[in-house]
């Protein structure tokens, strides 16, 4: 397996962003990291007992978080816009085991610019399918989104610059010297 450097998400310009899914600054979050996979994104994760449902089984809602997170960030990186989830649907096939290593891959299915449809698959790493997700996102400009998100003017300026470096023509930067694996730990 080739280990790629994780993608530098635009949110990383915000020193204290706390996204439950992808911030490295939220100790309660799952701190996902993403790499490119074809036209889509891939993340690898391993969840501990803090995310348990039945003994030894990861709570299914967390799989929804992971799918939503990777699909949303995929849209950010492809469009430079801010996506808001308008609908999401999961198909659960197999329970996800606490401490097991899994991967999630997402891609864009279609979209007209303002409403984008995506899909994601969660598998045991290089193994069988455990869940699929489909979702729809409405994308808005940062200017339209700022009424709904808590950022001050300097943060908006930094984020605007970071978002302008994403989108169809942009080469997404990566963080060097970071392992591909999410640093969610089994506790």
């Amino acid at each position: 397996m080739t280990v790629e450097d994780p993608i530098e998400l635009p949110w990383h310009v915000l020193a204290d962003y706390r996204c439950f899914g992808c911030s490295p600054h939220n100790p309660h979050g799952i701190q996902l990291r993403f790499t490119h996979r074809g036209d889509g994104l891939r993340t690898v994760f391993r969840l501990g007992r803090a995310y348990e449902s039945y003994p030894g089984v990861v709570h299914g809602g967390l799989l929804g978080v992971i799918a939503d997170e990777i699909m949303g960030n995929l849209i950010v990186l492809r469009t430079g816009q801010i996506p808001f989830t308008t609908g999401m649907r999961m198909r659960y096939v197999l329970p996800v085991t606490v401490g097991g290593r899994y991967e999630c891959v997402a891609r864009v299915r279609d979209g007209d610019g303002q409403l984008i449809h995506t899909e994601a698959e969660i598998r045991e790493e290089d193994g069988p399918l455990v869940a699929t997700a489909t979702a729809s996102y409405r994308t808005v400009s940062l200017d339209a989104a700022r009424a709904r998100i808590s950022l001050d003017a300097p943060e908006i300026a930094r984020l605007r610059q970071a978002l302008s470096a994403t989108g169809p023509a942009a080469e997404t930067p990566t963080r060097s010297a970071l392992p591909e694996e999410s640093h969610v730990r089994v506790d």
Binding site: R89, R91, T132
Partner: protein, 87 residues
């Protein structure tokens, strides 16, 4: 784009055969999927997930768990496709 139930049966038969490691000829469209050699409820759900993805359709759980054969799954998919097209 419309698709016939027979085309869907062929497509789903291929997916079922792949999931179960059988040749498509060994899978009858009218056999109870849960009694086909090598099948279990997880593999059937995997088939459903693949069909949903291939056909860009979301099947209702009541329909999925109410379908026993490939033909019945194809009919469920056909209905869902028709409803999506009409929406």
């Amino acid at each position: 784009m419309s698709v016939s139930t027979d085309e869907l049966i062929d497509e789903i038969t291929g997916i079922v055969a792949q999931e179960l490691g059988l040749s498509p000829e060994a899978v009858s469209p009218d056999a109870d999927l849960r009694t086909v050699e090598g099948a279990d409820s997880v593999k059937v759900l995997r088939v459903i997930a693949r069909v949903e993805r291939a056909r860009d359709v979301e099947l209702e759980d009541e329909d999925v768990f109410g379908a026993s054969t490939i033909r019945e799954v194809a009919e469920v998919v056909q209905r869902a496709l028709t409803e999506t097209a009409a929406a």
